[in-house]
Amino acid sequence: MKLFDRDLWREVFSTLTKNITRTILTTLGVLFAVIILIMLLGTTNGMKNGFDKLFKGTATNSIFVWGQSTGKPYKGFERGRRVKYTFDDIKLLKENIKEIESISPRIQLGNYEGVSVVTRKGQSSGSSVYGDFPSIDDFAKKNLEEGRFLNQNDIENSRKICVIGDDVYKLLYKKEENAIGTYIEINGVYFQVVGVYRKNKNVSFDGQNTVHIPFTTYQKAFNSGNRIGWMAITVKSKYDAGIVLAKIKKLLKLKHDIHPKDTRGIGSFNLSEIFSGINAFTMVLQGFSFFIGIFTLLAGVIAISNILLITVKERTKEIGIRRALGATPKMIKRQIILEAIVLTVFSGLLGFVISVAGLSYLDSKFGDGTDFPFLNPSVSFTQLIVSFTLMLLLSLLVGLIPARKAVKMKPIEALREE
């Protein structure tokens, strides 16, 4: 007799279908366990996807470096000296630190965090005005409502154009007024508006009360020469941004005669730290829900085993009869184990279907991720396979317990059971 004996399967199915209440009750345990497991996994995946989407268009492995006042006297310089960068610094960094992928410098009109007066037709706003390269958009993509962002052509020709945030637009324009092609004035210089952006769903560093003009235009219009304000640096993805930042600082300190132990002279911000924090959070969440799910599953399968054990008691007489008719212990065991497997697999599959349907409902309800980082809640194929294998192994294991019990007693004792 083989395991894939058709008669054996027929016997198992007839036993399960002819005792339908018992079968349904048994199924429920695993069914709920699987639903809980998959829903847990799916929603945490959904949250992870939500976060991923939130940070899409944001260069996560990036750092920002700017100049500050020094905190220590060094090489004859007093403390409190303002460190200023130029394009020479960019060149220096690019040549010496191979982990750097790109550097986008920015320069800001007025002092730090300061605002400049921007006017148009008698209206004015206090906005941040930046000289930028197009590549700055790689760090946190702008959500353009109209027009375009700065491009390479603007840089090469030092075109007097600008891209504005919609806060600027609201302050300077009437409702529904078309901004593209109009001019705004900054410090006596006119710039033509080529793009308006509004707040996006992703990460935004600049805010919307901002005017971006080409870096080269800025240099000419405001006579900034070789100076740069700060640098946005992307690090090649295989390198650790923190280590690269340390190298950058060391190099810049050397060049600008800053005390090696001075913590103030160079200001910096490591964006990747925040992202790794969030990644760790979702990973912990995923691990946690898998853990909970597995134990729920275990509980469900144990419930099945318990019910099978009870039914073995109930069925002792039946098993006694079968044995009197010539069933060997092996045949009895095989049947009970198979019953357990069929039940678990059936209820497991049903659970998968129900929970996947539940997840797609959740997706349709909350999945656009506007208010809440939640997107495409689903389970991966690997997760499905892992949980399914686990479920099968468990059901095999627990099928053995009642099966052993069923054949341990003498057939006459089983027959005498009422």
Partner: protein, 230 residues
């Protein structure tokens, strides 16, 4: 066919044990129709269960079909039961959720007979006990006598050498009892060894040989008038 020498059996009762069979000697030849009588508790069922390999003895020798039954593991016992023995119980012992036909076919399943063959043979035997039209009915839809006839068909379907019946008519009225006995006689005429426990003299008189048990020993073992006169 069945040979018993100095058979002993005790049941453990707490610290003590209850000595039920106290040195039985019995030889039943192939084709015999034997009944066992005795008062309640005399050990009849115990003897039959040992003969049927549903229980094990403590001492003495038991030969079934010439084979010494000793240290039999449950797998071998199951195979022997399937091959040589058919059981008829007082309480029928049909599987409640299976139809008459499925019940009769079950021993053939354990014998490894193919499905089509099983159905066919089972139906033949149901016909033999006059229940062909009841093949698709569950035991709960059958009368006591019908149930016992299904059980007899089930006992016969593998064509065993010995049919063991523990008070097969115990739960039946006298007319049904008679028809069941007729059936057993018919089986016996076909050459099967039949070994039946009964409380009723009239039933025992229908058999060829009566073995009387009392307190675990055989007090008499004689042929009936019927047989003796033939």
């Amino acid at each position: 066919m069945i040979k018993i020498e100095n058979l002993h059996k005790s049941y453990p009762m707490g610290k003590d044990s209850l000595h039920v069979l106290k040195g039985l000697n019995l030889h039943i030849k192939e084709g015999e129709f034997v009944s066992i009588m005795g008062s309640s508790g005399s050990g009849k069922s115990t003897l039959l269960n040992i003969v049927g390999l549903l229980d094990v003895h403590d001492e003495g020798n038991y030969y079934l079909n010439g084979q010494l039954i000793e240290n039999l593991d449950e797998k071998k016992a199951a195979v022997l039961r399937n091959k040589f023995l058919g059981f008829v119980f007082q309480s029928f012992n049909l599987i409640t959720y299976k139809t008459a036909l499925e019940n009769v076919a079950l021993p053939l399943y354990y014998k490894g007979v193919g499905r089509k063959e099983r159905q066919k043979t089972a139906l033949e035997y149901l016909e033999k006990v006059g229940l062909k039209d009841w093949a698709g009915h569950l035991p709960s839809e059958l009368s006591g006598g019908q149930k016992q006839r299904v059980a007899i068909a089930r006992a016969l379907v593998t064509q065993p050498k010995v049919v063991l019946a523990d008070e097969p008519t115990g739960a039946l009225d006298s007319t049904t009892s008679n028809s069941v006995m007729e059936m057993l006689k018919e089986i016996n005429r076909e050459g099967m060894t039949v070994f039946v426990i009964t409380h009723e003299e009239e039933i025992a008189e229908e058999t060829d040989r009566i073995v009387r048990l009392k307190d675990g020993v055989i007090i008499s073992d004689e042929l009936t008038n019927k047989k003796a006169t033939v």
